[in-house]
């Protein structure tokens, strides 16, 4: 029986030159998590820990990246501590690849924000922290890297630590720890370092082990219909439970129409008499009676979701080509796909400077964040992101390409 623990997904963000790749290499190396024959391609197995090692190429296996020295895309890499397994979703920092970075961040449950102790907070640092905050990351650990370049100075560390603390507070991020490290030298990653003897906090590995797996609280049912198949002349609704659970015989609402229906049978291949299905399960459902059903409808046990063709949202524009209010887009949230337009751009915000750039704008530029009102061609079903994240986040597409990601804020 496979008893492999689920790996806790984490993302490492921060400015492109602040040492993320080196940190990742160091994490893999210090936990003996590099598969041995990868070494042959990238580096040899070693018994001694080297003083000055760069692992930038552990993660970068694409030729282009080597020539440009930046990580283009996301990669999943696993490492382990005695406590559990982790999977790093490496998020690059270059401005041009913001959309890839968003993709990386979106699956992680905790984040490490890396800041160069010598350089301090840069624009990219701010932008990434803002996005972490928007995506709802509660578990963030800050690493002040290259502490060797500031001669392991306690004063310099404390100064920057305070700056970082205040800056993150504005974003409503409360970091679990702010740690001094040197990825290239190996200080305080897996082992404490005598050079930082004045620091009595944890190592990076110890800090990671304090992260908690996201608890799955009992939420109300959200089952978006993904498709309809015909089996033996009957319609079977297939989809994935995005929140809550569903029981055989239960009475549920079919939204957006608000029709009441009964769950006749829950279907799973080769399983008989399934009485309940839970969060994250992909299943089939037979409803009692005949109903007009289609992809995009949602089964729920309550009527609290917002059902509307006008929704307020916070969006971050990823596409380098900006947007002009009124242009046609496609709204995609779970299995809902509805044409829409951004009708009003209430406020635009530059996360790099943390400043408001415009109220009541007529356009949005690449890498900008905005508060908007979206007008859709049909009613959609959404929940606030902070309550049911799967129903509170969406993608906007233009001509088949994702151009923006968005969040439904709490009402009010």
């Amino acid at each position: 029986m496979n008893t492999e623990e689920r790996a806790l997904p984490i993302v490492i963000v921060g400015h492109v030159d602040h040492g993320k790749s080196t940190l990742i290499g160091r994490l893999l190396y210090d936990t003996q998590s590099l598969p041995p024959d990868r070494y042959a391609e990238i580096q040899k197995t070693s018994e001694m820990l080297g003083k000055r090692l760069e692992f930038a190429f552990v993660m970068d296996c694409l030729e282009e990246e080597r020539s440009r020295g930046i990580t283009i895309d996301t990669t999943q890499t696993f490492f382990k501590t005695p406590k559990r397994r982790y999977v790093i979703i490496d998020a690059p920092g270059h401005k041009e690849f913001l959309k890839n970075m968003i993709t990386g961040s979106s699956q992680a449950e905790a984040a490490l924000l890396i800041i160069d102790a010598f350089e301090g907070i840069r624009d990219q640092t701010r932008r990434h922290a803002y996005i972490l905050s928007m995506l709802g990351f509660k578990q963030v650990c800050v690493l002040l890297n290259k502490i060797d370049l500031v001669h392991y100075s306690k004063e310099k560390f404390s100064d920057l630590k305070n700056q970082v603390y205040h800056f993150l507070k504005q974003l409503n991020i409360h970091p679990t720890f702010i740690l001094p490290i040197s990825a290239i030298q190996g200080d305080n990653i897996a082992h404490p370092s005598i050079k930082i003897s004045w620091f009595d906090g944890p190592t990076v590995l110890q800090a990671l082990d304090t992260f908690e797996e996201l608890k799955i609280e009992e939420k109300p049912l959200r089952f978006p219909i993904q498709d309809i198949y015909m089996m033996d002349g009957k319609k079977i609704l297939v989809g994935r439970i995005e929140a809550g659970h569903i029981k055989k015989g239960e009475s549920v609402y079919l939204l957006p129409g608000k029709k009441k229906v009964e769950v006749k049978k829950i279907e799973k291949f080769l399983e008989n008499d399934v009485t309940i299905a839970n969060f994250e399960e992909s299943i089939g459902i037979y409803l009692k009676g005949r109903h007009r059903v289609k992809r995009g409808q949602i089964l729920t046990t309550d009527l609290f979701p917002t059902i509307s063709d006008k929704i307020k949202a916070n969006i971050f524009w990823m596409d380098p080509m900006g947007y002009h209010a009124g242009e046609a887009l496609l709204f995609r949230c779970v299995t809902q796909e509805v044409p829409c337009r951004i009708k009003k751009i209430n406020r635009k915000f530059d996360p790099a400077s943390m400043e408001l750039t415009e109220e009541d704008a007529s356009s949005i530029n690449g890498a900008e964040v905005a508060d908007v009102l979206i007008q859709l061609d049909e009613k959609v079903v959404v929940d606030p992101f902070n309550e049911i994240p799967e129903m509170g986040r969406f993608v906007l597409e233009k001509e088949g390409r994702p151009v923006a990601g968005g969040i439904i804020p709490l009402a009010g």
């Binding site: 024959d37 580096q43 040899k44 197995t45 070693s46 001694m48 760069e54 080597r66």
Partner: protein, 452 residues
């Protein structure tokens, strides 16, 4: 007219693969190389130098290029085994764990080493280099300048950075290497091919030297190594049918060195840095020595019937050898069939050293000159993957890593073998060397020059 009082910094490095100090000294004294003699009289000194251990081109040039020992750069030979397996692979430029000096000068290094850390803040601005035909730089990795890889390289496109340098090389039918396979069948044709290759090499070097801009120019002549492998017996023997060709090669080499040196003197206006070096020496072969067969006879190596190359290693094996003489203990845990436990290692090492010392060649002379344990000669993060023992032979006995042979000694078509102790370097006389240097120390003088 110069408006700025800034000093121009220019460096020229000429590498000549496999040229021994002793031979060069003889040729200079005997006026076979009058131009080099003249250069030496103008403020340069010829020194004998130690190659890397082992003394193979891929290791030695890498030690020179990175300025560190194999314990840091991680290259121990042309071949190596993948970790935890018996699979052979061929380390290439991507496997070098530390930056080369042109990456340090050009400020494009992604990796770090003791050398790069030393010069990190001292190199004021990026310097542009042309690195031509230097062995073990394939595939060509992006850098600040132009790089054309030396052997072993299969694809000229992949051996060239940037792509824009390729069309010229293609147009002159540039050859990365002579076809050594030909030497077996037709020595005369091979010698001809050698000279042809050398002509194209000189043409290409001159082209980039004159047409392109650079702060540092490093070109290697590799034909000498090929010449020596097959014709070293002709180097001092006037009666040998290839003696004239051998000498002629050195005469042409001498002329080419003058061309580059004079061109350099003009460009650098007497302020440049000039050096010439080789990566190892050569000596006439008496016999090849098949170390693995020797280990077999002593019961230390046990081979299976099936398997390719090192897949043949049986579980009763205590140690095995890779080219030329890199001995690895068949550790439990390190190799799939390894059975030597930690506690047994010391004893096994001692046993191997002991039997090696009993190895006697013709007339009962000793074959092995030096035996080193890895910790004695390697320092750095990759010492773990180093061979447990490395042997250097007495001149004349070419140690081999083949598993195929059924005797300890044998002959082959080669007449020359590498030596460790007899490489050379020519440096400005103002650099005083107190003792014989290893090759990895030489690049420091170049970096110092750019750091002033």
């Amino acid at each position: 007219m110069k408006l700025f009082s800034k000093k121009i910094k220019k460096a020229l490095i000429i590498g000549i693969d496999g040229v021994p100090y002793s031979l060069l000294n003889t040729y200079i004294k005997n006026d076979i190389m009058p131009n080099l003699k003249k250069i030496l009289s103008q403020g340069f000194t010829l020194h004998q130098m130690n190659a890397s251990i082992p003394d193979i081109s891929s290791v030695s040039w890498t030690s020179f290029n990175t300025g560190v020992n194999p314990g840091e750069h991680g290259i121990y030979g042309f071949t190596d085994l993948k970790p935890s397996s018996y699979s052979l692979y061929f380390p290439n430029s991507k496997d070098i764990q530390t930056p080369t000096f042109w990456e340090i000068l050009g400020k494009t290094n992604q990796k770090a080493s003791t050398l790069s850390q030393k010069y990190y803040h001292k190199i004021g601005r990026p310097y542009r280099s042309i690195i031509f035909n230097v062995p073990h730089t394939y595939p060509a990795l992006p850098m600040n300048g132009i790089l054309v890889s030396g052997f072993v390289a299969i694809d000229l496109r992949k051996a060239t950075f940037p792509e824009s340098a390729y069309p010229y090389l293609h147009s002159i039918n540039y050859l990365i290497d002579v076809e050594a396979e030909k030497a077996k069948d037709d020595k005369v044709a091979f010698m001809k091919n050698l000279f042809e290759c050398f002509e194209i090499r000189k043409k290409a070097i001159s082209h980039f030297f004159e047409e392109d801009s650079w702060d540092l120019f490093f070109a290697c002549i590799t034909e000498t190594d090929r010449l020596h492998h097959f014709f070293y017996d002709a180097s001092k023997d006037e009666k040998n049918p290839y003696y004239e060709s051998f000498i002629r090669f050195y005469v042409e080499l001498d002329k080419f060195i003058k061309i580059l040196y004079d061109g350099f003197a003009k460009i650098s206006q007497e302020n440049g840095f000039f050096m010439i070096l080789s990566d190892h020496g050569f000596a006439p072969i008496k016999q090849e020595v098949y170390i693995n067969h020797f280990l077999k006879e002593k019961g230390l190596l046990v081979l299976k019937e099936e398997g390719e190359f090192y897949e043949k290693i049986g579980d009763q094996t205590k140690a095995f050898n890779l080219d030329p003489c890199r001995i690895y203990i068949h550790d439990k845990g390190a190799y799939p069939r390894g059975k030597v436990r930690r506690e047994e290692r010391t004893e096994v090492l001692r046993e191997i050293q002991q039997v090696l010392q009993t190895l006697k060649g013709e007339n009962g002379e000793e074959v092995i000159d030096k035996i080193y344990k890895k910790e004695e000669i390697y320092h750095g993060p990759h010492t773990g993957s180093a061979p447990d023992l490395v042997c250097l032979p007495k001149d004349g006995y070419d140690l081999k890593g083949t598993l195929e042979k059924k005797e300890i000694f044998g002959q082959n078509i080669f007449t020359g073998m590498h030596t460790w102790h007899d490489a050379f370097c020519i440096l400005p006389s103002k650099i005083h060397l107190l003792e014989k240097q290893p090759i990895e120390h030489q690049i420091d003088y170049v970096l110092q020059y750019f750091a002033q």
